[in-house]
């Protein structure tokens, strides 16, 4: 149960560097898989309709990659997420302007003030965190050597809200083992989350400049 010690220098920029090469499909795909769902969710929460949200995500990714290749993305001037939000915000404002003063559709009203940097940041961060956890869970199920019984006990406990006693009975384990399974999964998930975040230099909570604040539930 050693805490993961990641070599940040080696892994951080590897994926982003891949974006320089138009033929590096893997890098493209990985970047897209990571950020598209975040941007779609972000745009929807900012009041865009589903179609518009997809379009905004698409345009934002394209524009980011262009700027990245042109050397405009400067780490020291802000996190990757902040760049994406800045780009996406312009697209959102475009759409709002195009819609003019006409009512867009009911129920699709802006939830976030596009002029409020802090709430834009928070909206993006919430989406990013959700995507990250989904990715980590997916990896836990498909890609780790964690004992399937451990994963199953964890799922029964956390997803289905079953009591420890019930899980222990159904899995023929002791309650102690059920708790142990939970701890193991938590540790594994944290490890995955840390690695995924470091791949894109997106350590949690570093939204605003260098004021690092650890997000809830994650061990430093």
């Amino acid at each position: 149960m050693d805490a993961p010690r990641l070599d940040l220098d080696r892994t951080t920029t590897a994926l982003l560097t891949g974006l320089f090469d138009p033929r590096n499909a893997a890098a493209w795909e990985a970047f897209d898989r990571r950020y598209r769902p975040i941007l779609v969710g972000f745009a929807r929460n900012c009041g865009a309709r589903d179609n518009d949200a997809a379009e905004i995500a698409q345009e934002t990714i394209v524009r980011f990659v262009e700027e990245y290749r042109a050397g405009k993305y400067d780490r020291s001037r802000g996190r990757l997420g902040a760049w994406l939000v800045t780009i996406a915000r312009y697209r959102l404002l475009d759409i709002r302007r195009r819609a003019g003063t006409a009512r867009i559709t009911s129920g699709e009203r802006a939830m976030v003030d596009l002029d409020d940097e802090r709430s834009l940041g928070a909206t993006y961060e919430a989406q990013r965190r959700q995507s990250l956890l989904r990715e980590a869970l997916e990896e836990l199920r498909t890609n780790t050597r964690t004992d399937p019984r451990t994963v199953k006990a964890f799922e029964m406990l956390v997803y289905h809200g079953l009591s420890t006693q019930v899980v222990a009975e159904q899995m023929a384990m002791s309650t102690h083992d059920v708790y142990l399974a939970k701890s193991r999964v938590a540790a594994k998930l944290r490890e995955i989350v840390l690695r995924l975040e470091s791949e894109y230099e997106e350590a949690p909570g570093e939204w605003e400049g260098s004021d690092a604040r650890p997000s809830a539930g994650l061990a430093p």
Binding site: M1, R103, S106, D113, Y159, H160, L189
Partner: protein, 708 residues
């Protein structure tokens, strides 16, 4: 659990490095791992059992405390993961032998007064859902059961992004009604708004979605009837969702009323009623239509925008009813400057006591919210603003139309006191009925209503109310006494001493009788005595006034203590009485004592302090110390000016006192200026016939003979 200190469970952040070796996962060894896990769960779930002695142990043992913290952090993290998961992975097989056929009940999500909500799985579809069990809600008979199921069928047809879908309902093996609904992982609306520090704009957007959902249900004939923050959840995508649509009932069938109208806990009662429209409180089910949902939405909107409910000060249902029906809520922007005019108007429009003045439909509300968000002019503005303004003016302006509104507000509050703490439900229901029939009677007497009332004077109107009250409240002597007392105070305000004496005297007589039977509190009796004392002073029956005040003081000291605003108020009135009796020495030392006590009394009103200063100035004037008196009157005026409207009658009185002293001191020019101001205010507030106006007119005439 008794005796354990749960605070020990929420210890300070500790060093997780302690845990780098796995053997420490069991803590120091004194308690088992299971015990430590349960202690971690107890940090978020107060129901979780904690082993005996563990709380104390945790305060001392760093290792165990660190372990518990780590487990708790794990739990929070895993819950977050579970919420992020797009859909639940493969589930284990389940047997169908739980309390609800066809469902497997999991963890309890929430438990309230009327039932509990469980995470559950529908075995046939493997669909994860929420099941709400109405505990203790057994059906009285087959008919009720069929009706319940029929209603659920209608509600289950609602499909809207902002409405939590109801799947089905039934009766458990233990004969408890239940219903299964969509499981929404989210936060209560008010908590969401607070936690995300939502701007008014974001709140408006949330309410536009809500209004859409509610409009959809209304078009299908389903009214919610119990909208409140606890029934609105914001999901992970930031979409507000309404729960329990159509399941609240107002026809006395307590089993199906999530609002728990029949609860015996006064606070809870008020809490739920805070969202109820005035017409819902009248007890007439036919008066209720979809617009009651709009009122409730208005209260919730107000709360989200300002952090408080529009009529928060009410101490009882009756008072709340009075406020809701006749009060005007502050503009939300008065509490939160970020709220703009449009949202002010929209919110106040929803809070109109008269359903006809609210939005006609939830669609219209959604439209106006959309307009506000787009920066287009809202449709509610024109009519509503002028109406609200006129309502506020009427509230403060004592012309005959105004008296009605003012009076009804005060009476609403006084009726409240009489049954605020009614112990049994039956008693409360009776009181509600009494109130509504009284309201009806009063309503027909209002000069604002067409029924021949246009020509009524204030006095006639008050008299009509009094007669109606006597008839409507014949079987509720305690309530009647409260109403009479209030009416008497209003008469006093108009300096109509004869009528005031009749009403206050009747109230006192009735309360004395009730007091002897134990049906009236010391505090209420003291209130009547104090008020009768005021009449006696005005009638110059000073010995009777003194006796009334002394009796009131004894009761109030006994009930509230010496350093209480009410007790000291009676003392101050007694001092004023002594002054008029020319017992100036006694009065002076009493004023000094009251001032000392007042300084030690928390929240002693500035106006009362000014009255003490004023009282002493009167004594100075009576003893010929005109300069001191003038200084006292001026000091009192400075104080009340910070508290009152510029044209409050008390300012007029104060200016008159100052002018009188200036006359004595030969400062005629100043005296005329102040007397003229006093005359203007008193004429406006009291009318030309009032004794104080006559006094000031006389003073002015005198002054002008000196300096034309």
């Amino acid at each position: 659990m008794g005796g354990f200190r749960r605070e020990a469970l929420s210890g300070t952040r500790s060093v997780r490095d302690e845990l780098s070796s796995p053997h420490l996962e069991g803590g120091c060894g004194r308690f088992g791992r299971d015990d430590l896990e349960l202690a971690a769960i107890a940090r978020t779930d107060p129901e979780a059992p904690v082993a005996a002695g563990l709380c104390d142990h945790l305060t001392e043992c760093l290792i165990c405390r660190t372990v518990v913290e780590r487990f708790a952090a794990d739990n929070a993290f895993l819950q977050e993961c579970a919420h992020a998961a797009p859909k639940a992975p493969q589930r284990p097989e389940r047997s169908d032998d739980g309390p609800i056929p066809g469902y497997h009940l999991g963890q309890e999500i929430h438990r309230g007064a009327q039932g509990a909500v469980f995470r559950a799985e529908q075995l046939a579809t493997r669909r994860v859902c929420a099941v709400k069990m109405l505990l203790g809600g057994r059906f009285a008979g087959e008919r009720e059961r069929i009706r319940f199921e029929r209603e659920v069928e209608v509600v289950a047809r609602l499909r809207h992004p902002s409405i939590v879908t109801l799947y089905e309902s039934g009766v458990s093996r233990r004969d408890e009604p239940w219903f299964a609904m969509e499981l929404v992982d989210g936060e209560r609306l008010d908590e969401y708004v607070r936690a995300h520090a939502c701007t008014p704009r974001a709140i408006a957007a949330l309410f536009q979605r809500l209004a859409d959902g509610i409009a959809y249900a209304h078009r299908r004939g389903v009214i919610h009837r119990d909208l409140k923050p606890g029934n609105i959840v914001v999901d992970g995508d930031g979409v507000p969702r309404v729960l329990d649509f159509g399941l609240a009932r107002d026809d006395g069938d307590a089993a199906f009323r999530p609002s728990a109208v029949g609860t015996t806990i006064a606070g809870e009662f008020l809490g739920t009623f805070a969202y109820a429209a005035p017409e819902q409180l009248g007890g007439d089910p036919t008066a209720i239509d979809s617009r009651c949902d709009l009122y409730a939405l208005g209260v919730v909107l107000y709360q989200c925008l300002t952090g408080k409910r529009p009529f928060e000060g009410a101490r009882s249902i009756g008072e709340l009813v009075g406020q809701k029906t006749h009060g005007v809520a502050d503009r939300p922007s008065a509490h939160n400057p970020a709220v703009d005019r449009d949202l002010d108007v929209i919110t106040l429009r929803l809070l109109e006591a008269d359903p006809a003045r609210r939005y006609e439909t939830a669609d219209a509300l959604a439209e106006d919210l959309a307009r506000a968000l787009d920066g287009r002019p809202i449709l509610a503005r024109e009519a509503s603003l002028s109406y609200v303004v006129s309502k506020i003016i009427r509230r403060h302006w004592l012309a005959s139309g105004a008296a009605a509104a003012l009076l009804l507000t005060i009476i609403g509050a006084s009726i409240a006191l009489a049954f605020a703490y009614a112990k049994a439900d039956r008693e409360r229901v009776r009181s509600e009925r009494t109130l509504s029939s009284f309201r009806e009677a009063v309503g027909s007497a209002s000069p604002e209503s067409a029924a021949g009332g246009a020509g009524l004077t204030v006095e006639e109107f008050l008299e009509l109310i009094e007669q109606n009250a006597e008839a409507a409240l014949a079987n509720e002597p305690a309530v009647l006494a409260g109403v009479l007392d209030t009416i008497g105070i209003v008469h006093l305000g108009f300096e109509d001493i004869a009528r005031a004496e009749a009403s206050l005297g009747a109230a006192l007589a009735s309360r004395r009788e009730l007091h002897a039977q134990g049906a009236c509190s010391d505090g209420e009796l003291a209130e009547s005595l104090h008020n009768v004392g005021r009449v006696r002073i005005l009638k110059a029956e000073l010995d009777l006034a003194e006796a009334a005040y002394r009796e009131a003081i004894a009761l109030r000291t006994n009930t509230y203590g010496t350093r209480d605003v009410r007790t000291l108020l009676s003392w101050r009135h007694l001092a004023s009485c002594l002054r008029r009796q020319k017992k100036l020495g006694e009065a002076t030392s009493l004023y000094n004592w009251i001032e000392l006590e007042a300084q030690r009394t928390e929240n002693y009103p500035a106006l009362e302090m000014a009255a003490i200063i004023n009282g002493r100035a009167f004594i100075d004037a009576a003893e010929g110390r005109h300069e001191m008196a003038l200084s006292g009157y001026s000091k009192a005026l400075d104080t009340i000016r910070t508290e009152l409207a510029v044209d409050d009658y008390r300012i007029g009185r104060s200016l008159f006192n100052i002018a009188s002293m200036e006359e004595r001191l030969g400062r005629t020019t100043d005296a005329i200026a102040n007397a003229q101001q006093a005359r203007e205010i008193l004429l406006l507030r009291k009318g030309g016939d009032a004794a104080t106006v006559v006094q000031v007119e006389t003073l002015l005439t005198r002054l002008r003979t000196v300096q034309p």
